[in-house]
Symmetry: C2
Subunit: 343 residues, 2 copies
DNA sequence: GTAAGGTATGTTACCGCTAACAGCCAGAGT
DNA sequence: ACTCTGGCTGTTAGCGGTAACATACCTTAC
């Protein structure tokens, strides 16, 4: 593409090259390569053979421009190192596989400005649909998405107003449920450990729901600790130590994700703290990782695979002509594990 | 894009719309939006204002076709759930950020056929460069890459012949080094645990190098165990248990990655096995996760971030006109951690 | 025998944008 | 006065495909 324009032995091939090599018109070659319209078997063979021999790779840019059709679906997520999003992606790819649609991923690092850029870039490729994590976006982002004239699915969260469709869980409710379970089990001095990221709206909503339920029981958070960056497992240990040192009478630790929860669990076991007797623990996400831990951490799965699948289905469905604008709420299940004492 | 062609209130905008709204030619609008060529400040303002007011998003498909320039770099990796690749991606994005180039990710699930499809699809978008994990590809894949006329960088591994450039480590050497360290520490009954994936060539090469070094010391693997699918941490536990049961006199376990190594470590600690006295352990990758474990697993970092950066630099460099074809070998460092006894 | 209908292929006109070049005008130089 | 230069804007001709229509040929039906 950006080769010096000098002598270029094998110029980039076009339909014309294949057409000349096989003695039919470009249009017929195009038909063969796309499997569209009637072409005689003999011609088809000849064309395919010529294309193969030349090593021709069609130019989708030209094709997309001419046909006004792009088989791409933009997927905008905040991070890849979170474990959660790769799994959502898996759900999306799996479902899209048979539709001729293809996901293209963009990462925002939890930055609204970055998100705006990513969305703009993606829309400039005129995708057939967009899947965007979260409901909180800059005004410009929302406007772009709304104007794009394609199906938009916001995923992970449903506590808010989507641009078009949404698939996710209520994080507020999830936080509330966990708090209720903890209170029902008899814990009273409850602390929270989480990420500092100001733009992790879903973690924030969980905490809000959590505190709401505490308040309803006449309780408030006994302590709270935040972190950013570094090894989540290690941070989990450190935060746990910090909280237990500062507020020794804490009897429960609610973590904003399983990874730091696992760190906390390992710390407690190391220190010989009785879990869940002296201290109970809970995380969020239901990551597979936890299966290998010495004790199963209480958690709530976030329906990641499901979310990916449903979102992709909506895009694929609208791609087929259905009208959109639906909100699909999924319901996470609480997995008590071994770190909440039986109520 | 694929809306029913009926009444469409806000037809998709083009340069012409902005041009009419601002009273200048399409060409001038194009110049303003790309920041190319001279445009008077007054005109620029007017155009930008009009574009903003309309919510115009340029059509890169048309732009790319006209300019024969695509600012995309295809990145082909086997998996996203491996931890390793997201980190490589981070390195790539970071470096590409300031070059105007943008990575587009494709996942192959360790399948050569899938890889072929992904490469074909990507090339059909005429990217400015391709970064592909591994050196082992189908003949067709290699041919396509070689013919594409763009910089190609194969990453992770350098034990083989690259199509164009390569950045990575020698996995064979890495395996050998680890074996030498283990032998030097006095372990003699050494077993291996790894993934079953037939197409994880890098894990295979590590094992080959490992066995080679064992052979040189007159040793052979005391046992070996493979797994596929499931929670790596859990599998690590299970495999460790299986090996220790089958071959009780094993005194060292070499894992093909840190995650299963961590599982093995947790298992040993649970069972009260003396690590590294009775049994030594080592993994591979140097994942951040390990920092939070009760004991630091011996490992070797795979230079993931570096690999991503260097690969991106090569693409960006050639994009600027430099000629390619280099092989960059990175050298992982052995991190003995706490699971090999001091030699 | 001829109209009707299908099958296989070719022709034409774009898709939305940009490279390359052409024009126009004001101020500078001689 | 006249060319020359440089800053700004417009015109033309594609980029490599595909939609839509046209065409030629061959059946089949009446």
């Amino acid at each position: 593409m950006t080769k010096p324009p000098g002598f270029d032995p094998r110029r980039t091939l076009t339909l014309r090259d294949v057409s000349e090599a096989s003695g039919v018109s470009e249009m017929t070659v195009s038909r063969v390569l796309r499997n569209r319209g009637d072409v005689s078997d003999a011609t088809r063979e000849r064309v395919l053979e010529a294309a193969r021999a030349l090593g021709y790779v069609p130019n989708k840019i030209a094709g997309a421009l001419a046909s006004q059709r792009v088989n791409l679906v933009g997927v905008v997520i905040p991070s890849l190192s979170n474990m959660v999003f790769p799994e959502v992606l898996t759900g999306i790819s799996d479902t899209l596989e048979n539709t001729g649609l293809q996901p293209v991923v963009g990462v925002t690092n939890y930055s609204p400005e970055r998100e705006e850029t990513v969305i703009y870039e993606m829309l400039s490729w005129r995708p057939s649909g967009m899947i965007v994590a979260g409901l909180e976006h800059s005004d410009a982002s929302r406007a772009m998405l709304a104007q794009a004239g394609i199906p938009i699915v916001e995923i992970m969260d449903i506590d808010g107003t989507p641009v078009d469709s949404a698939v996710g869980i209520s994080h507020r409710r999830a936080g509330r449920q966990m708090a209720e379970a903890i209170i029902a089990a008899g814990y009273r001095r409850i602390a929270f450990c989480g990420t500092m990221m100001p733009y992790d709206h879903r973690a924030k909503k969980r905490l809000e729901g959590f505190e709401e339920a505490l308040a309803k029981a006449g309780l408030t958070l006994a302590d709270r600790e935040f972190y950013s960056g570094g090894s989540a497992l290690l941070k989990g240990r450190e935060m746990t130590e910090a909280v237990l040192q500062r507020t020794p009478d804490v009897d429960f630790l609610y973590y904003s994700n399983d990874m730091i929860g696992a760190g906390g669990l390992l710390y407690c076991l190391d220190k010989g703290i009785d879990v869940p007797g002296r201290i109970g623990l809970a995380g969020f996400n239901g990551v597979e990782l936890l299966d290998g831990l010495p004790r199963r951490l209480a958690t709530m799965d976030a329906c990641r695979l499901q979310i990916g699948r449903r979102a992709a289905e909506i895009i694929a469905g609208q791609h087929e002509g259905v009208i959109g604008g639906e909100v699909i709420e999924l319901f996470p299940t609480l997995q008590p594990g071994d770190t909440i004492r039986g109520s």
